[in-house]
Structures are given as C-alpha cells and as structure tokens.
C-alpha cells in the first residue's frame, strides 16, 4: 500500500533538533475557533471542505489553552478588545496572532465614524501576519497562514533569545 512501500529500508534521519521542532510546530498550528464579524464567515469557509485548512495541519480548537494561533476574524469592538486580550493571555506559548481583514487590521469601514471600534487589534495584542481584504477570500487567508508557517519554521525554539 502507498508509494513508500518497499522503497526505502527502515532508516534514521539526522536533523537539527531546532529545525525539527520548528517543522513540527509549523505543520500543526491549531487555531482558536472564534469569529467576530463577517470575516468569520470566510474563515469558516476556509475550514470547510472546499478549502480544507486541515490540509495544512490547521484544526479549530474551542479552548484558548489548546490553541496556538488566534485568527482575529472581524471587527473588534472596544467591549471585545478587553476579552480578546484576555483570551490571548490565556493561550499557551508559543502563540501567534493573525489579523484577518481590514477591521482587525485598522478598523476597516469603521475607521472614521466607529466610535466603539478598536482601530487595529495590534493595539491590544502583538500581530504576526496581517491579511488584507474586506473580507479576505479563503485563498488570501490560506496565504497568510502559509506565511505564518514560514515564520514559525524560521524560529529557533532551543536558542535562547537575547534582547
């Protein structure tokens, strides 16, 4: 069964542990399943069968404790901003944030008159990847996620970071 059958002998791979960890982390970034506005519909579409995020190892988790990536999909109101921050703080390291759509990035259509809209989620949590669009198509979100995976891959979790 399968293409691997009888092609190789049982073998040993030598790799750098740092890179190996990066590879393992980047290929299974489970995302936190919550949506804030219309962008969430596109996020759901990305996860559904046509675009199928599980192809790239992304699985929705309903608890911040189990999630690695937070996709901020939609308009962040001031009321929600405090909660987004709290949820981010509850996530376990390593954690990443994707700002999806112009609302999460800059306030979007509510930039000028939205008295209660947070003008960019980066005011409350650090953002790794910004995905532009209103709403971004699933392809755009997937590109953002692949960018994030590249970024995770280049991290060296074993190397101590000095400021």
């Amino acid at each position: 069964m399968g293409v691997l059958e009888n092609r190789f002998k049982d073998n040993i791979i030598v790799a750098s542990l740092d890179k190996f960890l990066g590879w393992a982390r980047s290929t299974s970034p489970w995302y936190f399943q919550f949506g804030l506005a219309c962008c969430a519909i596109e996020m759901m579409a990305s996860a559904a069968s046509r675009h199928d995020l599980e192809r790239i190892g992304m699985m929705p988790r309903s608890s911040p404790r189990q999630a690695d990536v937070m996709i901020v999909a939609g308009t962040v109101t001031m009321k929600m901003a405090l909660r987004v921050k709290k949820l981010y703080e509850q996530m376990a390291d390593p954690k990443y944030v994707i700002s999806m759509g112009s609302c999460a990035t800059s306030g979007g259509p509510y930039w000028q008159h939205g008295y209660h809209v947070l003008k960019g989620v980066d005011l409350v949590v650090p953002v790794d990847v910004y995905v532009p669009g209103c709403p971004p198509r699933p392809e755009a979100l997937i590109e953002g996620l692949l960018k994030l995976q590249e970024k995770i891959q280049t991290e060296r979790p074993l190397t101590r970071k000095t400021a």
Binding site: M78, K79, A81, L82, W111, Q112, Y115, H116, L118, K119, L123, V124
Partner: protein, 166 residues
C-alpha cells in the same frame, strides 16, 4: 381601525393626551408622557384596539433645540391595524414610564434605547446598557455625542472629518 379612529379612541379615554404635531405622518400619534403606563395598558387591553404586539422601540434625537423622542410601533394581530406612538422627552431629564411588564420584548428594546440615548424608563426592572460596555461614557446616538478618547487605556484615535481625505 384606521389610525384616525385609533387616535379618537385614545383621546376619548384620556382627554387632552393626544398632541398636535404637523411633522408626523398619518399613522403616527404623539402622546403626552405623563400617563403613558395607563395609556399603554389601555392600548393593549381594550378589546377594540388590542395591540398585542410591540414591534419596535426607537429613540430619535431631533437635534440641538428639539426634544428626544421615543417611538413605539404597535401592531394588533387580532384587528390587523398598526400605530406608531411618539413620546417626547425633555433633553435634560429624559424619562418615561417603562412598558416592559406589558410587552416582555420591551425589556431589551428599552435597554437598547437607554443605551443609545440615555432615556430612562422608570419602572424597568433591569435597566442596564445592552450593547455598549457597562462602563461606557455618554449616549452614542445623540447628536451632541463626543466619542471618548480612551477606554481602559486603549486609545480611540480621533479622525477629523474630510481634511485627511482631500
């Protein structure tokens, strides 16, 4: 019943309660606020009116000089007639009786109007903000509303109208 007949019915039960207002359409009626609870009870229970459905409660700010208004949309499923009731409030101290216990949906409608316009519904059992956070300042849909500049340390940047976009 036509809106005119409904007005007559209210007027004969509560003399002097129907106010003249030329800005209103035919199916709208402005009432005095003092006896509102009794009038609402009448609207609901009178067999000829029988407004069993409260469709909506809206607030309106009529501008600097004008009053704040609450507007109620009533519908009778029994008789299939409708009316919109307008009640004006003093801008400094806007308040009116709550009808939340007559039509239960009025609970959230009144909370929303309170949240956006600061109109106090007296007798409402749980009058809190419903959309804005509890510690929000000001009444957002009033014409003279100035957005607050920070909320729990989060800056709300002020974007000046037009000048940045010319």
């Amino acid at each position: 019943m036509t809106p005119a007949e409904i007005k007559t019915a209210i007027e004969s039960q509560f003399p002097g309660s129907v106010l003249e207002n030329e800005d209103l359409a035919e199916n709208q009626v402005e009432l005095k606020g003092e006896q509102w609870l009794e009038m609402a009870t009448f609207l609901k229970n009178d067999p000829n009116l029988c407004f069993d459905q409260l469709e909506c409660i809206t607030g309106i700010d009529t501008g600097e000089a004008g009053p704040l208004q609450t507007r109620y949309n009533f519908h009778s499923m029994e008789h299939r007639h409708k009316i919109e009731v307008v009640i004006s409030h003093d801008r400094e101290n806007p308040k009116v009786a709550s009808i939340e216990q007559l039509w239960r949906i009025g609970d959230w409608f009144e909370r929303e109007t309170y949240d956006m316009f600061g109109i106090v519904y007296e007798g409402h059992r749980d009058l809190r903000r419903i959309l804005c956070p509890d510690d929000w300042e000001g009444w957002p849909l009033r014409k003279d509303y100035e957005g607050q500049e920070d909320y729990h340390g989060i800056v709300v940047p002020k974007i000046k109208e037009e000048e940045e976009w010319e």
